[in-house]
């Protein structure tokens, strides 16, 4: 996984509450058995005027001129501002893959759905929570200022605004360490192999029916 320490990036809006993962990456793209290439299909139904199909060339599709992420001023944005309950619904990690593939490494919102938050961290995307009032300020500044950028510092846990204000944010200590070092969870957990084996032995004695061979 790509490590995340500091990032300075252009900011773009997804200005609505309850953005669900179906909206982030529609089901037809879930037929893929790959992890990459979902970027052009991020928010597919909002982004294009036609219906997307998997494995198609997206470069010639008609763009929706009313969708903010298509505006010239937001091209190459890497930080997304959003509203409450971002990433609700389906557990599809394809949503995080699409965000990352489209160049986003940070989403700032008042709240996130649990499964999406977990998926984001595992794909080098930092979810930052600010209050609704703070979000209103950020949205207003961004709309006012073309080329609005934010500097995110995960080491210091602060977001610095163009006016020099530094807003601190909370982040889970374990997730922070993983992101800072670009560590993947499996490697970390396998360091506990002995503890898992020891637990498993006791668990199997206590609940032997759980350890029968699964014979269909």
């Amino acid at each position: 996984m790509q490590a995340f320490t500091q990032h300075d990036g252009l900011v773009a809006p997804m200005d609505r509450a309850n953005v669900d993962t179906d909206l982030m990456i529609p089901k037809q793209f879930l037929k893929s058995i790959k992890r990459s290439g979902f970027g052009p299909n991020l928010f597919d139904e909002l982004r294009y005027l036609d219906e997307g199909v998997p494995d198609a060339d997206n470069s010639s599709r008609p763009l929706n001129p009313d969708f903010p992420l298509n505006f010239p001023r937001y091209q190459n944005a890497s930080i997304l501002l959003a509203r409450e309950n971002f990433g609700c619904g389906s557990s599809r990690e394809h949503a995080a893959w699409a965000l990352a593939d489209d160049g986003f490494c940070c989403v700032i919102a008042p709240s996130f759905a649990d499964i999406f938050r977990s998926n984001a961290f595992k794909n080098g995307i930092l979810p930052i929570e600010f209050s609704s009032e703070q979000m209103d300020v950020l949205f207003a500044m961004m709309y006012e200022t073309e080329g609005f950028r934010l500097a995110v510092d995960l080491v210091a846990q602060v977001v610095t605004l163009p006016n020099g204000d530094a807003w601190s944010f909370e982040v889970d200590a374990f997730r922070r360490d993983c992101l800072l070092q670009g560590l993947d969870d499996v490697g970390i957990t396998l360091q506990s192999t002995e503890a898992i084996r020891a637990f498993e032995e006791i668990h199997a004695r206590r609940f032997p029916w759980l350890f029968e061979d699964l014979v269909l």
Binding site: E51, D114, A173, I196, R206, F207
Partner: protein
């Protein structure tokens, strides 16, 4: 110290607690399907790792399968969509390569992963259960700690049999009294989501309790826990009681006779102790819950069937007003219109929420001897598994649906998420027993109204949303017009 059901399940699976607030939790059962597993198996291969405990895993294809008998008769190789075929073939290949038990597409036991798990006894009380699907919350109905995970976590569970977790908070939803006739677990679930919102359960394990919950069958409890995720809660829970034990008994993968007593003794402890601490609790009067219809693009946007679509003036703030405006625009509805004026074009009875035998019985009871309204363009009934399908056919339910003018399909996720050919066309409106009414969920531009099986059947007959009572007033002989 008094513990909640969630506390007990957590403690029984705690491998390691770390200083940073995370814990390693042991996973007893891992359910796998074709859509969220391929990349996990690939990750395993690339790292040169093997599954930690093969027998903990059970795979089944469901999301991306055709539900047409004609398309399935020729097996996987004959499926018409080449992209879907590759994904399904990849699941088969991975199960073969990694030595994981799979119920293949051709097997009568095939079906939606959250239907076949409990049905086969692959999910049992007291287990920790995960699957790369958010509706894994369904299995909490058996008193199991069950939740959805992303593909990275699928790989993590395959490789380590554990998950890195932070303990959730406890949330009690107590439903007193009884549900009225014609009101089902689905209506209760929608009413709860309408009350606490789609983020109301975020960070919580949601335990459903109270007399109205205890009175639910296992199928009803599964419907309720299935929808916990739509309230933002990764897992829903119902305490173990006689209903649970009766359900588990005799399932193909249930504990052997020699192990049953020990299992039952543990399972009987799986309830929240008196005085256990809940971080949040709400109470609902069962008799006050009415049949629900969702009118918007989020499962919290619900009204009772005798209610109306909200008005912009009723919204508390600008964000809510904008949200309502966008939802009404997408759904093609007017503010303030009565729910009973909404006319669906399509009917979908199925999904991991409502495709079990009891759901089909509930729909069939309304449809028996009646015809689907002439304004309905398509009406699908998709049983949750081959076992459910066979049972329904043995009871003659299939004939009731067919006589009403509906299609009787093969098991799969179907039009709940429309990954296969079962989908709405742009602008089409569906009375659906599924779980999500998000924009485009059932097909690009499609409009979803979430309802119970009985309400979907009532809408099918009347050609508009109606209470089950209203259908009853129409005699079977004359119904079906408009």
């Amino acid at each position: 110290m008094a513990q909640t059901l969630y506390d007990k399940l957590w403690d029984a699976h705690l491998v390691e607690q770390r200083d940073d607030g995370t814990s390693l939790i042991y996973i007893d059962r891992h359910l796998i399907h074709e859509v969220t597993s391929a990349q996990a198996f690939e990750g395993l291969s690339l790292a040169g790792r093997a599954p930690w405990r093969k027998s903990a895993n059970l795979a089944v294809p469901d999301h991306n399968v055709s539900t047409l008998q004609t398309e399935r008769a020729g097996g996987l190789a004959a499926l018409p969509d080449p992209v879907s075929r590759i994904q399904l073939q990849t699941l088969d290949d991975n199960c073969e390569t990694f030595g994981i038990a799979e119920i293949p597409l051709s097997d009568i036991r095939q079906g939606i992963v959250h239907v076949i798990g409990p049905e086969q006894g692959a999910v049992l009380p007291g287990m920790t259960v995960v699957c790369g699907d958010s509706h894994t919350s369904t299995h909490g109905a058996l008193g199991a700690l069950a939740h959805g995970i992303g593909t990275s976590e699928v790989e993590h569970v395959l490789a380590t049999q554990c998950l890195i977790q932070k303990k959730m908070k406890n949330f009690k939803v107590e439903v007193s009294g009884r549900l009225e006739a014609g009101v089902s677990a689905k209506d209760l679930a929608l009413a709860i989501i309408g009350r606490i919102g789609t983020a109301g359960g975020t960070g919580y394990a949601l335990e459903f309790t109270g007399d109205a919950v205890k009175a639910l069958t296992m199928e009803g409890r599964m419907t309720l826990c299935n929808m916990a995720i739509e309230a933002g809660a990764r897992c829903g829970l119902v305490a173990v009681d006689e209903v649970t034990l009766e359900y588990a008994r005799g399932k193909p993968l249930a504990p052997k006779e020699s192990q049953w007593a020990a299992a039952e003794a543990w399972w009987r402890t799986l309830r929240s102790d008196d005085g256990a601490h809940f971080d949040r609790a709400i109470e609902i009067e069962g008799s006050a819950v009415k049949a629900q219809v969702s009118w918007g693009t989020s499962p919290e946007m619900v009204a009772s069937v005798d209610g109306h679509v909200p008005r912009l003036s009723e919204m508390p703030d600008e964000t809510a007003r904008q949200g309502l405006k966008r939802a009404l625009d997408y759904m093609g509805l007017d503010e303030g219109m009565p729910i009973t004026d909404i006319q669906p074009d399509a009917i979908f009875i199925g999904s991991c929420t409502n495709s079990r035998i009891e759901d089909l019985r509930e729909a069939a009871a309304v449809l028996k001897g009646r015809r689907v309204s002439s304004r309905i363009k398509k009406a699908l009934v998709v049983p949750g598994s081959g076992v459910v399908k066979a049972q329904a056919e043995a009871e003659g339910l299939d004939q009731i649906f067919l006589d009403a003018g509906m299609e009787w399909r093969e098991p799969g996720c179907s039009m709940c998420l429309a990954m296969n050919a079962d989908r709405l066309n742009p602008g089409e409106r569906c009375a659906s027993t599924s779980n999500r009414n998000f924009e485009g969920r059932q097909g690009s531009g499609g409009r979803t109204h979430l309802v119970s099986p009985a309400m979907a059947a009532a809408a099918a007959v009347m050609g508009r949303f109606a209470s089950v009572d209203a259908v009853g007033a129409v005699s079977p002989v004359t119904a079906g017009g408009e």
